[in-house]
């Protein structure tokens, strides 16, 4: 059984590494001090088990789980006992270790992990529902402006912004102001490549120039990223 550790606290990584080293058929592959490095690693490597700290700056353990398409088994580690109920809302979470980790409790978690790893993995339900919706994708969209139905190729859309009772559809050449809501238009757009990145913005992921901190650049538009949308966004990007 292969595993990795994700924890911003080195002390915790040292302790977990020691405990893992004493389990004969557990192979500790890598340790990460932040979730982003681990995501890049997991894009290229298959592992069976993650020891994941919940409380990390910028990107929490829960944020991290949401970025994974088909997560391995996860044992959460935390100093906070109150998050246990939330933790088990995630299918991939099989156990929850409270710091400081006691040896008997760790051993019990490993026994549990081994039985889970032997069983087939569940595929993230969000992934399958996304794929179903992609089948309904529309390549064109007609919008009513001054009693004229104007055809817009959805591929040409860069950004859609909410402005009061209107939405502003921005393509490379033009902008269309339409009396509608983001909620209505999101149902008419294909899931891929569109993404509702902020309560006031839908973006075309294929038009992203760069992402810096909590903003996305598409042509000259700087678009904010909602904290709650960031994990899903990171999951949909093809990170190297």
């Amino acid at each position: 059984m292969t595993c990795i550790i994700i924890d911003d606290e080195e002390t915790s990584r040292v302790i977990l590494n020691q405990l893992c080293s004493e389990v004969p058929d557990l192979d500790m592959i890598e340790q990460f001090s932040n979730a982003m490095s681990a995501i890049k690693f997991l894009n290229k490597n298959d592992i069976d088990l993650i020891f994941l700290d919940i409380h990390m700056p910028d990107f929490s353990g829960f944020d991290f789980i949401q970025t994974l398409k088909n997560p391995p088994r996860i044992i959460l580690t935390t100093s906070d006992q109150s998050l246990a109920l939330t933790a088990f809302e995630y299918d991939s979470v099989i156990d929850y270790l409270v710091k400081p980790i006691e040896r008997p409790r760790f051993e019990k978690a490993i026994v549990k992990a081994k039985s889970f790893v032997a069983a087939p993995k569940a595929v993230a339900s969000t992934e399958s529902s996304n794929n179903e919706k992609q089948g309904d994708s529309a390549k064109t969209l007609y919008v009513n402006i001054d009693r004229t139905l104007i055809k817009i190729e959805t591929d040409s859309i860069n950004v859609i912004k909410a402005e009061g009772d209107y939405i502003l559809i921005k393509t490379h050449e033009k902008e269309y102001k339409v009396h509608s809501t983001l909620k209505k238009i999101v149902d008419k757009l294909p899931n891929d490549p569109f993404f509702h990145v902020h309560r006031s913005y839908i973006i075309n992921l294929s038009r992203i120039v760069d992402i810096e901190d909590n903003t996305i650049l598409i042509e000259k538009n700087v678009i904010p990223i909602s904290r709650s949308k960031r994990p899903e966004l990171m999951r949909r990007l093809n990170l190297l």
Binding site: E9, E10, T11, S12, V14, I15, Q18, L19, E22, H55, P57, S79, D80, K99, P100, R103
Partner: protein
């Protein structure tokens, strides 16, 4: 206030001295950095960030077997989340005890 001790670390190490030394070395290196960050956040009034620092420090308090201090830290973390600084002085005393303890160990190892 109970003194820091090796009870947890000894129990965890199962007599592996190399591991004990490694763990103490990392603790002694990480603790002052986390304390500094905590102090900066307190000074600049960033109490939510300071609560996150206390959350991390709680783990180190428990590693040094300070159960009562851990409970104080837990209450202090909640206070900070509620924009209050009650227990700050007591918490700082806990941190000082930990630093003194680790420095003492470090000097004896040298």
């Amino acid at each position: 206030m109970p003194k820091p001790n090796f009870n947890y670390i000894k129990q965890l190490s199962n007599g592996d001295l190399a591991f004990e030394n490694k763990l103490l070395e990392v603790l002694a290196r990480e603790l002052p950095i986390e304390i500094k960050e905590f102090e900066n956040n307190i000074t600049s009034g960033k109490l939510t960030d300071a609560a996150s620092n206390v959350h991390k420090l709680k783990h180190k308090i428990s590693l040094l077997g300070m159960q009562e201090s851990y409970l104080i830290a837990q209450d202090f973390e909640e206070n900070l989340k509620n924009n209050r600084t009650d227990l700050h002085k007591v918490f700082v005393q806990i941190l000082k005890k930990m630093i003194t303890f680790l420095n003492h160990i470090e000097n004896h190892r040298i």
